[in-house]
């Protein structure tokens, strides 16, 4: 935002342009420092992205030999073709979409349902409920007890094992609650009640339409978290058809980490290396595309929602 408001003043004052307020010397220095710092920052963030994209589009040989440093060398889309030869990658992509969408919808619904009542003054036992929520932020049952619970609930090796345990993030719930507290005043509830609106009716007709930013934020948070996660899939799934993309990606990345003195078959080592070099970057690109696609659409809500929620807490 700073950048946008500042730009006109630094533009060279050509003929016909409205005379700007004259900049002082120190203004200029601040501006230059600002731009340099921001520019470097942008480069630092942008470079790895460009590099990965270029590497994925280059001949793997050139990547290994270090010829690729900014633009693709020896343009080739082989790597992307190769990706689709692997069933587990294709099914992994599909699974990840399901987990991200399903997880985000369910988790957002749960978050809203938990946050709204907790944002209202009249809820009996509110302190205790809140304390219980916060408790889970600091303590958890541990890996094996959780595994046992998931097993006994019959979730093991089902898609639910990825979506249900830990569906609600208390952190998001607190942000959402704060959002409700600050944007839905108690008076509004009272007014609705006077008009004969029930609690559910109020939540459905008034609260939800007023909370689009926070809903968007929740959806995005949950979807991205789900998209990036692999640990619960590792622990709860033993059916390859259910593995998310990240798990497959990880598989490719670690497959080459041999103890070199223990490699029984050098031919195998070379094979693995080639595979990894070929697939690594294209897979990273593929795994990054979906979040990149959603971001622009949610971004405006994102800033607004998260800020409102956190600032006035």
């Amino acid at each position: 935002m700073t950048v946008a408001t500042v730009t006109p003043t630094t533009a060279p004052t050509g003929a016909g342009a409205p005379a700007p307020v004259r900049e002082t010397r120190s203004d200029r220095i601040v501006m230059i420092c600002n731009y340099t710092a921001l520019g470097l920052f942008t480069l630092a963030v942008l470079y790895p992205l460009v590099y990965v994209l270029s590497a994925s589009l280059s001949d793997p040989k050139n990547v290994v030999s270090g010829k690729v440093w900014l633009w693709p060398v020896g343009l080739s889309v082989e790597a992307f073709k190769a990706v689709f030869d692997y069933d587990s990658i294709v099914s992994g992509f599909g699974n990840s979409v399901v987990y991200a969408l399903g997880g985000a919808l369910l988790a957002t619904a749960l978050t809203l349902l938990a946050a709204y009542p907790l944002s209202r003054k009249g809820l009996p036992g509110k302190g205790i409920i809140m304390a219980l929520f916060v408790f889970t932020m600091m303590f958890s049952g541990g890996l094996i007890p959780t595994y046992l619970v998931v097993d006994r609930l019959g979730l093991l090796n089902t898609r639910w094992a990825i979506i249900l345990p830990g569906a609600l993030a208390v952190w998001n719930m607190i942000i959402t609650r704060t959002f409700f507290q600050s944007t839905i005043p108690e008076e509004l509830v009272e007014a609705a009640k006077v008009d004969g609106c029930t609690d559910f009716g109020f939540f459905w007709r008034i609260v939800l339409p007023l909370s689009k930013p926070i809903i968007a934020v929740n959806l995005l948070f949950y979807a991205v978290a789900q998209w990036n996660s692999w640990f619960s899939a590792l622990i709860y799934l033993t059916n390859e058809h259910l593995f998310p993309l990240q798990l497959v990606l990880r598989q490719i990345l670690i497959q080459n980490n041999f103890d070199p003195s223990q490699v029984r078959d050098t031919a195998e080592l070379i094979r693995m290396k080639e595979l990894q070099e070929q697939l690594k970057f294209s897979l990273i690109v593929i795994a990054t595309i979906p979040p990149l696609l959603i971001y622009p659409f949610v971004q405006k809500h994102f800033v607004k929602g998260a800020m409102v929620g956190s600032l006035k807490g």
Partner: protein
């Protein structure tokens, strides 16, 4: 879905207590020995009543080299007539693909009658994450009939075996594994490497006798063209080696001062090559056996002499500046340098780590680099550390659990895979061709088999990617046909290992064997071992690069003090006890 045969309800509470409560190991002495000669805890009584399996007749038409020791192709029969299903946990693999749709899976099912219901675990089978998952399964009592290709350590096998979670295969191996019995005769050390301190054998092993792997720690390469160019011979002593490197530096064959006399990278330790001019040093964890007493190399005076030597080389600029920090990509960039070779030599495991291999061109750059003989130090020591025990036999390839009602069938299923033909199908796929008489193998003798391509695209979904149970003897591995039009690096790798390293190997008694530890010792071993490793490797780098001075008595003693403070003494006691148990 699963047959009744393969499922036995395991008392979950007992399992949880067993897996979580390490204390249970204390009672291992009581549990041991009860199972030899009788069926395992969860097994059906009929699992030991079937008559022993006999070896089939040898198939004809296969050309074995004279004196061949290894797997042979025999007539095979189905194991069961009525299909039986087992649940087996395996690692996920991109090469195998979907285990249930894999071509070798279908073939095995058809040939043996045994159906497998696969459960795939993400990871590569022996990494921390796979083990996290597997341990969670064990603790929760969510146990399959068997694990295939999951890397339990010897200590873990012993831990779970002593709790009767894993089946002691002793009686089954005696009766139903004739191929393995044969292999164990071929490799007399095999039984000792398989057996736990309580005499139980808790896994079906994989035998893969990789000749050049046994010498990988002592391998270093030197550019023989350059050696000729500077008018010297391949060095055999520490002094000659220094002379060669100095000549490289002076002559600058790469031009423009780009010559790197000797390089390396962080995953190939220097000590396993250079220290062996001063004392036998196998490398991490640096344990050696001297007259039945276990010791470490890195506190000995000879180690210090070696440090002084390396310190001198580094100070003269004969070792690459980044020899301790370069990663594989960096060393490869030096090796692949487009305008010509710039490396005089390097400590690497084989050519492939040094550069991209051109297998077609007989004048390819990698062929200039030759395996060096170990250097002879001032004291006359000249050793190529030979890994007699750590390479060749891997435990934990197939682990049968107490959930399995018929361990005998799984053992027969595993033994079936040791047949020559099955071994080849298991890792190289169905497109193998038997060799004709006169075809040469890697070792120059008659070859048995060959395949035109063994790469991902051709075998994807057709093999078990080395996760299966196999018997690959040294002779078997070297009997792979060499395509004269496209000779690989395998032959030179074999020959140079045979000529330059094998003759300098240390006696087997000096090698510290792979031992099995009790659970609490294993934890201690891991912790102290890790700290020692950190101290030894950082100090090595500091002593060589000049941050510490090996000639300074104070600094050397400080180093030894630090080692002792970390707990060298208790560490050695653990190893000594484990060694004695191994020796029996």
């Amino acid at each position: 879905m699963r047959e009744d045969l393969s499922t036995t309800p395991v008392k979950r509470r007992a399992v949880v207590a067993g897996a979580l409560g390490i204390a249970a190991v204390g009672s291992s002495g009581l549990l041991s020995g009860c199972s030899s000669g009788e069926a395992a805890a969860g097994a059906a009584p009929e699992s030991l009543s079937a008559p022993p399996t006999e070896l089939g007749r040898k198939k004809t038409g296969i050309n074995y080299p004279p004196g061949y020791v290894g797997p042979v192709a025999r007539e095979r029969r189905a194991i069961v007539t009525e299909p039986v299903t087992f649940t087996v946990v395996v690692p996920q693999s991109l090469t195998v693909g979907d285990w249930s749709k894999n071509e070798f899976t279908h073939w095995m099912e058809q040939q043996t009658g045994i159906r497998i219901q696969w459960r795939q675990v993400a990871g590569k089978g022996n990494d921390a994450e796979t083990m996290t998952k597997v341990n969670a399964m064990m603790a929760a009592g969510d146990i399959p009939d068997a694990f295939l290709g999951i890397g339990f350590t010897r200590s873990q096998l012993y831990l779970y075996g002593a709790q009767n979670l894993f089946v002691d295969l002793n009686p089954y191996l005696d009766k139903y594994a004739p191929n393995l019995q044969q292999a164990m005769q071929d490799y007399p050390e095999a039984r000792r490497l398989m057996v736990s301190p309580d005499k139980g054998i808790y896994s079906f092993p994989d035998i893969n006798d990789c000749y050049h792997c046994r010498a990988s720690n002592g391998r270093a390469l030197l550019n023989s063209d350059w050696v000729r160019k500077v008018g010297l011979g391949m060095p055999t002593t520490t002094d000659e080696f220094r002379e060669v490197l100095t000549a490289f530096k002076k002559a600058d064959p790469a031009g423009g001062g780009k010559t790197i006399p000797f390089g390396g990278y962080k995953d190939a330790p220097l000590d396993t090559y250079f220290m062996n001019a001063f004392l036998y040093n196998p490398g991490e964890p640096w344990l050696v056996v001297d007259d039945g007493k276990v010791g470490v190399t890195y506190v000995k005076d000879e180690w210090r002499e070696a440090l002084k030597y390396l310190h001198g080389l580094y100070a003269d600029g004969l070792l690459a500046k980044d020899i301790f920090t370069a990663n594989e990509d960096q060393i490869k960039r030096y090796g692949d340098n487009p305008s010509g070779p710039i490396l005089g030599g390097a400590r690497v495991y084989y050519w492939g780590t040094l550069m991209t291999l051109d297998l077609v061109d007989p004048k390819a750059r990698w062929r200039q680099y030759q395996t060096m003989e170990p250097l002879k130090g001032p004291g006359g020591v000249q050793v190529a550390p030979w890994n007699y025990l750590g390479v060749g036999l891997e435990v934990s390839t197939l682990v049968v659990t107490r959930k399995c009602r018929r361990p005998d069938l799984l053992v027969r299923w595993a033994d079936f895979q040791l047949d020559l033909e099955v071994v080849l199908r298991s890792y190289a796929g169905p497109d193998i061709r038997w060799s004709a008489k006169g075809d040469k193998g890697i070792n120059g003798k008659q070859s048995i088999y060959g395949y035109d391509s063994w790469n991902t695209d051709a075998t994807k979904g057709k093999t078990w990617d080395q996760f299966g149970v196999m018997y690959r003897s040294g002779d078997f591995r070297l009997a792979e046909r060499v395509n004269p039009k496209r000779p690989t690096f395998e032959s030179p790798l074999y020959e140079q290992t045979r000529d330059h390293l094998f003759p300098f190997r240390q006696p087997m008694e000096q090698q510290f064997p792979p031992v099995t530890l009790e659970a609490d010792q294993a934890a201690q071993d891991a912790e102290i071992g890790l700290n020692l490793k950190g101290e030894v490797t950082t100090s090595l780098a500091k002593f060589v690069t000049g941050k510490l001075d090996p000639s300074d008595d104070g600094q050397w003693n400080d180093y030894k003090d630090r080692i002792n403070r970390i707990g060298l003494q208790p560490y050695l006691e653990i190893q000594q006890a484990a060694y004695e148990t191994y020796q029996g």
